[in-house]
């Protein structure tokens, strides 16, 4: 990050990913996936507006709590109802 105006480039260029914004701090309810019941249909992955649901090598659903804002779309679209929204402590 530039320390003063002189350090900034003449032409403003975006050089950093927005992933440094830890939007997970916005969350008031947290999605918890019941991995036993999940049949890996990836409907939640498909509809996550924050790209906060990842698929690991075994095909399991992983939620990125650094960026998940807790909108609850994953819970609403899950056809097996195996995602639960719980209040953050």
């Amino acid at each position: 990050m530039a320390k003063s105006v002189e350090d900034l480039p003449y032409i403003p260029l975006m050089s950093e990913s927005s992933a440094v914004n830890k939007t997970g701090v916005w969350r008031v309810i947290r999605p918890i996936v019941n991995q036993e019941e999940c049949n890996q249909c990836y409907t939640c992955w498909k509809f996550c507006p924050d790209v906060a649901i990842q698929i690991d090598e075994e095909g399991n659903i992983l939620i990125d709590y650094d960026h998940c804002k807790g909108c609850g779309i994953c819970e609403a679209v899950c056809p097996k109802n195996c995602i639960e929204m719980v209040k953050e402590e």
Binding site: S17, S18, N21, Y42, I73
Partner: protein, 301 residues
């Protein structure tokens, strides 16, 4: 492991600062999945312009150009001209504007681009008002909606004019491809983009992007809103290829519009009489669309 129905590669980063349950970011995510890495995006002012957060952050993994409100399509034309001059052929150029930046402020530049037939893809993500600046009415706001500039109050001063039909305006430019899509049906959207991306000329997509903040509904219902808009045919799914209309998805049984309207705070002031007007208008538009599809069928190659 089940098969994924849309490409897995993510070209949009997490950590963007859109609201909870934002539909516009889903539109961007699906679009980039369909186009792949060799894409350049130009965006006007609007919700999508603030998604990156503070300088020097970017929420896309592809080149992103921020331009003035009215110049999205013009800048996309310029990028295409520069790529042509350099002899680069395998890059898709995308203009990605909101409904205000497209239907109101950017329409002149977009009309010019479409008339010149510049080889770009233009996507209008439609959240039906100026959401970024605080829910002001745009020409894509539907009849009957509350916004901060059509505030209802005690006088019942909701928006009295119907939504501007951008697809029709673009079809009138005789472009190769124009279509509607919805964030609730990503497979349909991705399929349409992949079909149109290599056509020569201006391609236009009108993407329905529900906005929990501006429409006054709970953020987890974003996908459900798109589904209901489709099932009630408030927002029908169709494509127009060289003037030939085709309804790409038809609901088995149309639901009454109240099912869509009653879930949104921006329509809560509506009485039965006004809902009747909306229903009649939706019926008329749906029947006209079916008639157009039937009439233009014979011109399909």
């Amino acid at each position: 492991m089940a098969k994924l129905t849309i490409p897995q590669e993510e070209l949009m980063s997490s950590g963007h600062i859109g609201c909870l349950g934002c539909g516009a970011t889903l539109a961007m995510r699906y679009l980039l999945k369909a186009l792949g890495k060799r894409t350049m995006v130009t965006i006007p002012a609007g919700c999508i312009a603030i998604m990156s957060g503070i300088y020097p952050r970017s929420f896309l993994k592809v080149p992103l150009l921020d331009v003035a409100f009215e110049t999205t399509a013009a800048s996309a034309s310029g990028i295409r001209a520069a790529l042509d001059a350099k002899g680069i052929k395998d890059v898709y150029v995308v203009g990605f504007g909101g409904d205000g930046g497209t239907a109101d402020i950017g329409i002149q530049a977009l009309s010019g681009t479409a008339e010149r037939g510049d080889n770009i893809i233009y996507v209008m993500y439609d959240n039906e008002a100026y959401m970024n600046t605080g829910i002001q009415r745009s020409s894509a706001t539907p009849f009957g909606a509350w916004t901060t500039t059509t505030p209802v109050g005690t006088t019942g001063d909701f928006k009295k004019r119907p939504k501007k039909n951008m697809v029709e305006i673009m079809v009138a430019h005789d472009i190769p491809y124009a279509a509607t899509a919805s964030v609730s049906y990503p497979e349909d959207f991705v399929k349409k983009v992949q079909k149109a991306k290599d056509m020569d000329g201006t391609k236009f997509f009108h993407v329905f992007s529900p906005c929990p903040t501006g429409w006054r509904f709970s953020p987890e219902m974003t996908i459900q809103m798109g589904v209901l808009a489709y099932q009630t045919t408030v927002f029908p799914m169709y494509e127009v290829e060289n003037g030939v209309y085709r309804v790409t998805k038809k609901p088995a049984k149309r639901k009454p519009v109240t099912e869509y309207l009653k879930l949104q705070g921006r329509f809560k002031h509506l009485d039965d009489e006004t809902i009747e007007i909306i229903q009649k208008n939706v019926d008329k538009n749906w029947e006209m669309l079916l008639a157009k599809a039937e009439f233009t069928k014979k011109y399909a190659e």
